[in-house]
Symmetry: C2
């Protein structure tokens, strides 16, 4: 029915293709890696830089809509594409805003979106002026990803671990829970949100597993949902916005950061909810009615990461053990090479009760390994 | 992890690819139609005849397993591939047996699988010798598909509508219900079956809609399941076997016919059951543990057929209306051209109750049309 151009050919694009196929929507992807996960399954797969203006303009010439699966793209090119008449969702200005954590934080502050106290600094040398914020977190303005570009600082002696570029320096939140809500909005202005999920972190700062429903009160879920809707409206956002929240020890709900796309914290929606985040993304950017986001059953999601100590052609251990458990869904991303903590896939688990869910999570984590 | 060669690049292959992707299984497909539904999404798409010995041998040279998504293929080629050491599942002898409805019927008779009384005839001229079977159905031995090659005969005057080739002439069953069960078996000998679904037919003899659970007693479901398991065991079958049953007015359960592959009567398993038939097919042929087939919720499946009176480039009406209903999943097969009653896709519907399900089925049928 339509041809969507997607900047980025990684796993998020790959799962988007699985959804888009069902509506006869053809997906053309652009990625610098000639072996990116979308390579063999995209209708068209173009190898090229996501930061090169001309490459992106050329790429978008024959598509009906442009969208993204990664936010580190050249937004000037997207502005030009939009100007030439091809819809770009999310809008280039939102991608640009979110690319820079400094601009993001200022937007929250100016628009009464709850966020942690912060200052903008140009480099680590400036931190000494803001000792009063300790314990705090320094986040690089641009280019951070999956825990990179984030440094926790408990005392002044940590300042030397800081970054040398423009950053945000924010007061550490006394976290009780981390939750995530994915909101969607289409051109018609229709908005809806997925139920909150709870994100449980691993020491390495990569998501360990994800629980749906989150173990939070209805009041907290309502508060977070309200903030999500408020944020999407104030931005005049179109597409999918994944919002990560901190819930502090006093029950305050604070926006941590957002991503203008499908998100790791929404993978379990494929099996766990009536509509998946990938279906919802397609619906939102193609201006189709948004889907019902209700849960079908409790679910959990475990990231499949490259085992420490192994680098090379990936081999998967425990496939049989995991496939023997009812309601366990392996999603691999077709990445040939593994390295320590590389995201190689995820596993979704559904169960009737939370107890059963956590038992299965333990089994999956025990058996499933990516080695080389 | 593995590369599967699939004979046939139609919608069944396309949905198999959506499943195979999740296990990093690469799918190579062979189809005579250069625009077959698998074209753009298969890892490799080869255009060629499914009946040509050399084409199939060449196709299979670099794959780890060969399977099918259509049974009208050259089984001599498959026997040779098997002889050369590449596993072929379902086994070539089973495909050959099922290709010929005459051999199929004889197998049932010889193995005490309940089936309707029949005779083998060489052409329509012989029918007059078997008037005692009337009302009856003449089915062409080879090459029938989706209602083609099947002729109902109520009186002797219908004999002239018969076929000129080797056929089965079978007593018409006084049908109360038509149900279907899909059984799976892997090389380890593990067997399981999907719950029975009820197939409601349209005047044109194409499936109108499909209901899960079937509205039958536990006794009848158990009887059908027992026959399905018995059949798979007696055949020593590996892969997926879709078994269509008649339940007659006296509650007898009779095998109508079978298909050695994923089947139209299993499409609703994608959203309706814990494991989909496409996942199960991959698991069975790759000798992985079979998945739990239990229902997650009641479901229905409506075929999306080309509207009568329209031939040409397909356009879809009612997409917005249908996507506005909760728990409705559009699956289009990426066929460019529509013609009357061409299978262009299917729509799965889930609901809490049968009443809600049937209401949604009505809405879907009312709104969704394929025109040109």
């Amino acid at each position: 029915m339509k041809k969507i151009g997607v900047l980025g050919g990684g796993q998020l694009g790959r799962m988007m293709i699985q959804s888009a196929m069902n509506l006869n929507i053809h997906v053309k992807t652009l990625d610098p890696d000639p072996n990116a996960p979308c390579k063999a399954v995209a209708h068209e797969f173009v190898v090229g830089s996501l930061n090169d203006y001309d490459t992106i303009l050329e790429f978008a010439k024959d598509v009906d809509i442009v969208t993204i699966e990664i936010e580190n793209v050249n937004t000037d090119a997207l502005l030009e594409i939009q100007k030439q008449g091809t819809p770009v969702f999310p809008k280039p200005e939102h991608i640009a805003l979110i690319q820079d954590k400094r601009v993001q934080k200022q937007f929250y502050q100016e628009n009464n979106i709850p966020t942690s106290p912060f200052v903008l600094v140009e480099n680590k040398e400036e931190l000494v002026k803001h000792k009063d914020l300790l314990p705090a977190v320094m986040k690089i303005g641009k280019g951070g990803y999956d825990g990179r570009g984030v440094q926790v600082m408990r005392t002044e002696t940590d300042f030397e671990k800081g970054f040398d570029g423009p950053s945000v320096f924010e007061k550490m939140v006394d976290i009780d829970k981390e939750i995530s809500i994915i909101a969607a909005r289409n051109e018609k202005g229709e908005i809806n949100t997925f139920p909150a999920v709870e994100v449980v972190y691993h020491e390495s700062n990569l998501v360990d597993y994800l629980l749906s429903p989150a173990t939070i009160s209805k009041e907290i879920e309502d508060k977070a949902t309200e903030i999500a809707i408020d944020l999407v409206k104030k931005l005049d956002f179109i597409g999918l916005l994944a919002i990560e929240f901190f819930v502090d020890q006093e029950g305050n709900v604070i926006v941590n950061e957002v991503a203008p796309r499908t998100h790791n914290s929404g993978h379990q929606t494929i099996e766990g909810n009536i509509t998946s985040q990938f279906d919802q993304h397609i619906r939102a950017v193609a201006n189709l009615p948004l889907g019902d986001t209700a849960r079908r059953s409790p679910s959990a999601m475990v990231n499949v990461l490259g085992e420490k100590g192994y680098t090379g052609v990936a081999k998967y251990e425990g496939v049989d053990e995991v496939l023997s458990i009812s309601g366990v869904y392996i999603h691999l991303y077709d990445k040939q090479m593994t390295k320590p903590e590389r995201k190689m896939g995820h596993i979704t688990i559904i169960a009737e009760t939370k107890e059963q869910l956590l038992e299965k999570v333990d089994l999956v984590k025990k058996h499933f390994k990516v080695i080389a």
